[in-house]
Symmetry: C3
Subunit: 398 residues, 3 copies
């Protein structure tokens, strides 16, 4: 058995992963093959590619990728590697180009990846040597890519995201701010931390004032919260929105989208609950609860009536995770007039940074030979167990 097989075979359901899953190149290599260079990954917002020729670049576990909008206004992704001498073709993080021209010797590719240059002096056929294509889809204003030859099926995510995210209007939004972090923790530590709120009372004072997560299991509050979900659900359905859910597990194992009420007094996820931007998308008013979407292995989102916050993870070796947190508002909102970043950002900036500190602590503990997998709390950490199960299922095919 390989080390990975041994690790998988030794896993105890309902307990955290063994140390070996978080360390070492062997598991990381299998994760690249099974997860990072295969699964659907959140790459960019559709609104970052407003016109044909607009592109963004990213690095997916060592793979340079360019994502662009083509002339038919679809999204496409390519290996950002010239077929002549291997230079990156697009060297800036974003831009707009009529065609993609390699800065080295000007090999030129159309927006569909076809090589337009004359290669006869290189001894190869004209029309050969196009850019290696990856898969790309745009769902509800979010662009996902898969670097696999044959990507995994979407299992309902396409329809669900289109339907649930439509009123949030991400396609017509713009990024007010984004912050990049390099967190000194394995990406799984970061996602595991996202999948439970048992740690919220001790770590997230801002978050727990606005959200019900930690209260739904409190028998003294269950009836109140259930009633509120029902009331808000009726109100929202009257507005044409989907019905809310009290709690939402992952759908098809690796994605979910759902809406749930915020705590009374919170019209949006801001420090004081007051709006921080104009209503966005097709919402009729601020008070639409919180729209949450999650996609393993690298995306989550929290949408309020006036703004949305997305989080994108990318691995950087086994011990670090690159995280980009972006705040989106309606495209018509103007900074200074309609919103102030100093009011828009703190709720999720603080909550995020509280989480990164936790994750770095966990990474340091997991590195110990004396770390042992521990037992999840049955109810309040069940979603971490579910993430772990999903992960092990993906890795089992390695």
């Amino acid at each position: 058995m390989t080390t990975l097989d041994t690790l998988v075979a030794g896993h105890r359901p309902g307990w955290s992963l063994a140390r070996g899953f978080y360390l070492g190149e062997g598991v990381a290599e299998a994760e690249r093959a099974r997860i990072w260079h295969r699964r659907w990954l959140f790459a960019a917002h559709g609104c970052e590619l407003p016109e044909p020729g607009c592109f963004v670049t990213l690095d997916v576990a060592g793979e340079p990728v360019v994502v662009l909008r083509d002339r038919a206004r679809g999204v496409r992704a390519f290996a950002n590697v010239c077929r002549h001498r291997g230079s990156r073709v697009c060297t800036s993080s974003s831009g707009r180009a009529h065609r993609l021209v390699c800065p080295y010797h000007a090999w030129t590719y159309d927006l569909d990846g076809r090589l337009c240059s004359d290669t006869r002096e290189h001894g190869v056929e004209p029309g050969s040597h196009g850019l290696r294509a990856h898969h790309a889809i745009e769902l509800g204003g979010l662009v996902f890519v898969s670097l696999a030859e044959a990507p995994p099926p979407l299992e309902g995510m396409g329809e669900a995201f289109a339907r649930w995210l439509a009123p949030q209007g991400l396609a017509g939004a713009r990024i007010a701010r984004s912050v990049d972090y390099r967190v000194a923790a394995n990406w799984k530590v970061v996602f595991e931390n996202n999948r439970e709120c048992l740690h919220c009372p001790g770590s997230h004072p801002e978050y727990i004032r606005a959200n019900y997560d930690i209260h739904v299991l409190d028998p003294r509050r269950a009836a109140e919260i259930e009633a509120r979900v029902a009331d808000e659900g009726r109100r929202w359905q009257a507005m044409g929105l989907e019905a809310p859910t009290l709690v939402s597990d992952m759908t098809a194992a690796w994605w979910r989208v759902n809406r749930t009420p915020l705590a009374p007094g919170f019209l949006t996820e801001s420090l004081d609950g007051a709006p921080v931007a104009p209503v966005m998308g097709s919402y009729a008013q601020h008070d639409v609860g919180t729209l949450r979407a999650t996609v393993f292995p690298n995306f989550w989102m929290h949408g309020s009536g006036d703004h949305a916050v997305t989080t994108r993870l990318l691995p950087d070796g086994t011990g670090h995770t690159l995280v980009r947190v972006a705040w989106l508002v309606d495209a018509r909102a103007e900074e200074g007039r309609d919103f102030d970043p100093a009011r828009l950002m703190p709720f999720w900036q603080r909550t995020s940074e509280q989480d990164w500190e936790i994750c770095e602590n966990v990474q340091r503990g997991i590195a110990s030979a004396h770390y042992r997998p521990g037992p999840f709390e049955r109810q309040r950490e069940r979603n971490v167990a579910q993430f772990v199960d999903w992960y092990l299922g993906e890795m089992a095919g390695a």
Copy 2:
């Protein structure tokens, strides 16, 4: 034979170690098993843990460790790793706590390591899942830990340290200053450098003015120095101190403690020989020579009548060593009134930094494929040979 076996078998007694001992993960892994996660290591001063609940944290070759004083005023050490999700439990370098509370989900441990939290919702027995205990002892005001299941025997070090270090009063001292270094050299290079003074004339002008080391083998001065050792010995024994030794080899191979006179005119190890702090411990006067203690693989100390300087080594990969140098004075001494760091520190700060520069030069030379082990000088480098012999003996069990 493994690489390590080949290296050990190829060693030529009386010559320096082969290059392979200083490079590469294979030897470093064996050193962790045989030395760093097994031997007794200096961790902290007892005076850093004045009250029950006081703790310090350190990282021993990748292992996070917390050392604390328990309610019975004994010292204890634990793996600083929560049994729930693996977070470090104590995240600051030092502090005081009634109980140890993990910052992630508030799992709470008593000062004896027992888990106090209710784990029934996690499906495990109450009282299980305590912190992994390491071994800890306090000897003469110095706290040593061993991460082994069964630590090596102390071989007389306990009694000797208690007796020799008592008058220095380390238990009632305080740390006036400490300086942390990251030296770009393998830890063995750093300790080898400490074990000989053949290099002192060219490198340590301050040290050689105050100390006899390099002069004891000078036939013109041998009689004078021997007489002085005898005279000072009589004087110190009258004060209740142990008898001094002219030179002191390691006792039981891996530790030593001894007292020897300073050069005439030096009442303490200061630049000009004049006192730099009030007499400490139970000493009756400044002029008590220099009290030296050494423990392989990570500790040495130089005690004067008015202050003591300790040095702690911890490995950081194969090519770096983390060094903490601490200056201790009597707990009643007040900065500004009783001592001035600008006079207290330079003697050992300069000498230490001169050594780190040497060590970094050696590391760069040893990295060469053209480095060959060289011959130790029979007398004046015999203690390096002894360190090498001890090291090889420890590694032979790997």
Copy 3:
């Protein structure tokens, strides 16, 4: 077959190297054995060692080396590693010493590498334990070293460099400025980029105004350029210089030296073509075209009538290259009076930095699993193919 054998066997002539050649310790180790610790490498300029005892130090793929001028005014190179305890002997980047004295225990070596210290107390013979000698030669004012036991033959380079470089007067020059770079690209990417000018039009606006390289294959200009080479050739031969060449391939595969005209209006390689320093060496006037020398794997030079610019490469792991670019002028030229670095440097500083940016882009693309070797242009990239062929020939012996 080893990975390296597989890579070599899989190479397609006329196409760029496979990704594996640029990544991974296996190939890098073979390159050290076959190339970096065997081939002749440019180490320093002879004028950096004006007097006996003058030395420079460098690090050749992990090997510390000292190069010096001995008492007979010849050049010598040694492993910069003391035979006693392994310290570097010379610790500064350059200097002058009567003898080489190790800073650790003062072991002292004469300029011919012999140990002068008394080692009887170390149990070894006097006169043993000299510094390990490397090979060194000075050719036309350039010092080359080989770390091999038996260096490869010079294959005519000695005579050619002596004859062609003599009028440039490098032996009587001085370094006006030098700039060190750490380029995030494998050394082969850096040298491959140097071996073609197909990329010049898009990247080097300064260079292409002054040089014919990209125009010699333009049929509309071929006759004009050929005529100019012939005219200038006659003029230069009348001045005692060697005849120019239109294009110059590598001689004996791994070195070349040739002279070719600059574009009309360029008396030197400066931004505006006007002189930037007094005529150097034995040149009678500024207008002597451009004297180019190249030595695989680590040197190239561009000489004008008034200055010369040398480039030295040294590998730093598989992903980085340390580059030193030096500007030399006649030793009698005085800064401020005779030359201004702000006019002397930009031509080659800009061109070099444009190249480093290209190389870093290529390195990032080559790291992709989707990188595939691409076809060289038959004419204008034939010299890259020749470099690749030379490299594969050297590696085949590994």
